[in-house]
């Protein structure tokens, strides 16, 4: 206390007190703290908990993934007639692009069965590609002129393109129709896009305009009488994929497919992936609670769970073989290394 300064007047006392640091647990770094330490028990239990949590999750996800039935058919090579040697020339020609494929159902597939197209070596995530769109234009009928960022597909002779940009321009345009035993299997193309995209990002009063009228035709054409919010193929395509190999939802088959069924697919092989040696695949897949078929998650969970079980065992053995009493002062450096003292 500054009051110890004997005989000093109040002024100096006050002055001194103002400089005196205020005491609080915070400023003196004495806040109550929890100081957990890694005891062997804690470490082993942590590993065991990881094991106990991870192994069931791993098993469950593996089962879920195995339950998913998936048919993958790669068709881009087979769908080029053998008399065409130059694939690119074929795809750019006006020749008939119809192609028929047969899919074998190896296992019963419960509806809904999702139909995907899968492209390979297609860099939808390239920076200039990703940027080449204009969200305002897609959403707002009044902003058809805002085409900034849409280079090089902004306008044709000064008239803006709706939807502008490379993404829309390069939209996938192969079509599939399915039949089983000559009975047509309908593909439901509704609600294949994200709901928020349909409702909020693509305007219900925005119609395609001046689309694919440029010198170079990209992919699909759009029906100019249907608003963008209902052009679900476009909406799906506009959600750019993260990786150069990607699947996109084409539609849903809402009947079960039985084991041994033969599905005949008549497809229009329109989309040019030949110029960049991209593969095209048609995928039919069911889903589980975890999504599509992917064993990796389950395997990873099982490996981490197994590893931590192994670690738990290893640490247990170590602690039994070479126990160290916690807080044993003989492990302090000055006790361990008497020569250093």
């Amino acid at each position: 206390m500054a009051s110890t300064s004997v005989g000093s007047n109040d002024l100096t006392t006050n002055r001194r007190q103002t400089k005196r640091p205020k005491y609080s647990k915070f400023t003196q770094q004495e806040l109550p703290a929890c100081k957990p330490i890694l005891t062997p028990q804690a470490v082993i239990s942590a590993f065991l908990i990881v094991t106990i949590v991870f192994i069931p999750i791993g098993v469950a996800s593996l089962i879920a993934s195995r339950d998913v039935v998936e048919i993958v058919d790669r068709y881009e090579a087979a769908c080029v007639p053998s008399n065409w040697t130059d694939n690119v020339a074929y795809i750019q020609s006006t020749a008939d692009k119809t192609c028929t494929r047969t899919l074998h159902v190896e296992k019963r597939m419960k509806s809904p069965i999702y139909v995907y197209y899968q492209l390979d070596n297609f860099y939808q995530n390239h920076r200039r590609y990703v940027k080449s769109r204009n969200d305002e234009q897609l959403r707002d009928a009044g902003k058809a002129n805002s085409t900034s960022g849409c280079d090089p597909e902004r306008d044709v002779n000064g008239v803006p393109i709706v939807p502008c940009g490379l993404i829309a321009w390069s939209m996938f345009n192969d079509t599939y129709s399915f039949s089983r035993n000559n009975n047509n299997v309908t593909v439901n193309k509704k609600e294949i896009s994200w709901k928020s995209d349909r409702d909020h990002k693509f305007g219900s009063d925005v119609f395609p305009k001046n689309f694919q009228n440029g010198n170079i035709t990209g992919g699909a054409h759009l029906n100019e009488s249907i608003p963008l919010s209902e052009q679900e193929d476009l909406i799906v395509w506009m959600r750019t994929a993260a990786l150069p190999t990607f699947r996109k939802l084409y539609g849903k088959i809402e009947v079960d497919l039985e084991k041994g069924d033969e599905i005949k697919v008549v497809l229009q092989n329109n989309y040019n992936t030949y110029s960049f040696s991209g593969k095209k695949k048609l995928v039919l897949s069911t889903t589980s609670w975890l999504g599509g078929k992917n064993d990796f998650l389950g395997i990873a969970y099982l490996s981490v769970g197994g590893l931590s079980f192994f670690l738990a065992m290893a640490f247990t053995i170590v602690y039994f073989v070479k126990p160290r009493q916690l807080g044993d002062p003989s492990y302090l450096s000055w006790n361990r290394n008497p020569s250093g003292h």
């Binding site: 500054a2 110890t4 300064s5 001194r16 007190q17 400089k19 640091p21 400023t27 003196q28 100081k35 957990p36 330490i37 942590a46 990881v50 991870f54 999750i57 996800s61 998936e70 809904p112 860099y123 390239h126 920076r127 969200d135 959403r139 280079d151 994200w194 928020s196 909020h200 990002k201 959600r239 750019t240 994929a241 993260a242 990786l243 150069p244 990607f246 699947r247 996109k248 897949s285 889903t287 589980s288 975890l290 999504g291 599509g292 990796f296 998650l297 990873a300 981490v304 590893l307 931590s308 070479k322 160290r324 916690l326 807080g327 002062p329 492990y331 302090l332 450096s333 000055w334 003292h341």
Partner: protein
Amino acid sequence: MIPRHLEWLGMSHLITALILYGYLIPISLYVSIEVVKVLQATFINQDILMYDEETGTPADARTSNLNEELGQVDTILSDKTGTLTCNQMDFLKCSIAGTQYGASSSEVELAAAKQIASDLEDGDSDLSNFPLRHRKAQVSWENIDKVDEIELETVVTSKGDEDQKHAIKGFGFEDDRLMNCNWLQEPNVDDILLFFRILAVCHTAIPELNEETGGFTYEAESPDEGSFLVAAREFGFEFCRRTQSSIFTRERISASGQVVEREYKLLNLLDFTSKRKRMSVIVRDEEGQIFLLCKGADSIIFDRLSKNGKAYLEATTKHLNDYGETGLRTLALSYRRLEEKEYSDWNNEFQKAKAAVGADREAMLERVSDIMEKELILVGATAIEDKLQKGVPQCIDKLAQAGLKIWVLTGDKMETAINIGFSCSLLRQGMKQICITTNSDSVSNDTKQAIKDNILNQITNATQMIKLEKDPHAAFALIIDGKTLTYALEDDVKLQFLGLAVDCASVICCRVSPKQKALVVRLVKQGTGKTTLAIGDGANDVGMIQEADIGVGISGVEGMQAVMASDFSIAQFRFLERLLVVHGHWCYKRIAQMICYFFYKNIAFGLTIFYFEAYTGFSGQSVYDDWYMILFNVCLTSLPVISLGVFEQDVSSEVCLQFPALYQQGPKNLFFDWYRILGWMANGLYSSVVIFFGTVLIFYEQAFRVDGQTSDLASLGTTMFTCIIWAVNCQISLTMSHFTWIQHLFIWGSIVTWYLFLMMYGALSPNLSHSAYHLLIEALGPAPIYWATTLLATVACILPYLVHISFQRCFSPMDHHIIQEIKHYKKDIEDQSMWVRESSKARQETKIGFTARVEAKIRQLKGKLHKKQSFLNILSPVRT
């Protein structure tokens, strides 16, 4: 962007890449470190235990960028006056006529006795070899040190009223035998009387009447002289007036307290010079007797004693040695009775010499004085304490135990410096003092080169001597004066000099100029490559404060120059202990951990961006939304790391002080070596691989939502980012060992903030949120795979680190781990003796400081015991 502007395209691509990969070089690290250091400095300023009540000054971190270096100091270079000492002399003890007066302050002996006693109780291993050790040890203890014990007791009793002790400035004497005229009952009354008169008369001071109190204060040439006069006044011999030819004292000789004024006619004054090391006055008292009263350095006086003046020589010498060891400044007092004839003869000579004009006047005067100052009779000796600042010896002791080397650089003369060395326990009896000096007489004759060769020779010899020393307990002290230092600091000698100095336990440089102080600091800093700290209070220390890695100014009485030049200012030297051992230790570890973690965090994050580039044809597209990247270092991971840097404590401040050895983690740089930095970087690399490839493989191509939609750029990026936020925040919680509510709030709050941000961002209009619109609530939140990925990646990321620290704790626990465990299980309370024992062991090997001195004393006593023991063993058959 139009591809035909290729140059422009290239540039923009380069800039894109720079921005993206900028996360690998953590620029935010600098910002965070600045914030952390400022907060650390605030804590230093706020530390109430470094606030000086007397002057009302708190500690002040004047710069915040050296905090962590406080924890890595290797050598402290300290000024003496004003830093270690108060520049105040206290008359503490005296030896009159072979009798010692004044309470013994040999705290070393007291502590040694205490420790030996406790060792004996514990059954110390060194002595347990002897049969009947206990009883005999006690017996012999009594035999050997009976006298000491009595002295020790007086210390114990006088310790209690320490407040009274310093009531009178310059007078710390405590012995009722001499006070209040009690000395009249002492055996050698005449000698005592003479002793007091010498104190009161033999000086050059001028009294000043203090009008308020009516007492006298003295304007003396040196503080020693002032304290003599104060002492004389307290003894009842008050010097009250000086005229041209006379000195007047008021003497209280009778027990009744009657005061008599006496006049001493001052006949001659033989001045003090550093060469003569003595001063004398020749006075005629009221009875007409002529006396020569002489005080001076003991060695000088002892050489000039007459045959019958050596009666007390032996006892006085012993006392002087004791005083010297405790660091007291000693002077011997003597007198000579002169016959009228003898005096007048000499006075003629003296006047002649005085009147002489020419170059040899000085020499003549000296020669004449020399004739007179002979045949002296020894009366006694005084011991003056150059008063240390509060807590200095304890602080030096702790700092030495923390493994710090302490050099004293002072402008004072060698004797004073050595005294202070003793009182600070930087020197002790039995320490080999290596004095490097130039032979001052021959300076003018010898060439510079010859002097240098001579010094180099001395240095080489001393180094050889240290090399050849076999005794592990042998300690060396290097004492060097300024003039010699001029040569020793020259380029071709300085490395040898430094080598010798580093080998010595303590180094004292005296009579050094401010410039030399700075040069010595530079030599230590550059020569050893270790962190140096200079501490001083005056303008003459500014150079060394600026030169050292860390400059500490004492914000005391000697003006502000040192403080203005310093990096840290404290009010008292003793606060240095807390500044270094507590704040330094903490700050070092905090900053080290923080930087390592920062590298980890940014590598983990930055590399995922880089990997993704490989999947986008290096086009510069980022997998994350721009806002995620901005927020990553700004608020999603910065607060936890700042809380690590500001609040982390491996052990509490009390433990830091109790276990000074923990400080060595800093100078040894255990927490910021390449092994650690690379380890953390590897950890970051691992985390980035796990998170990126894990997420990519999980979200590869298949549907991630139950209703069939596949993932897109936004959902993949957001999942990845969620994993990173979880992983780095869980990682930091494993790194910390001290969680207050602040850390909890920051760490878990950061994770919660991320989800809140994602929700709010997703709730904005799609114009603003683009692809993140409704991402969490619509797509990711309901998808179990999103949460499963987060859990998997987080656990997989922290698993190796958890294994590492568990393994390290299990097999090679560090000191602070053990102490944390002891504290956690409250073993320090259950087994207090263990705790005390460990904390007394927890220090670096040191040969300086009070504790080392006590140990040396114990070794000495044990040696004595040993001899006594063998002696008793020989005798014992006869006895039985």
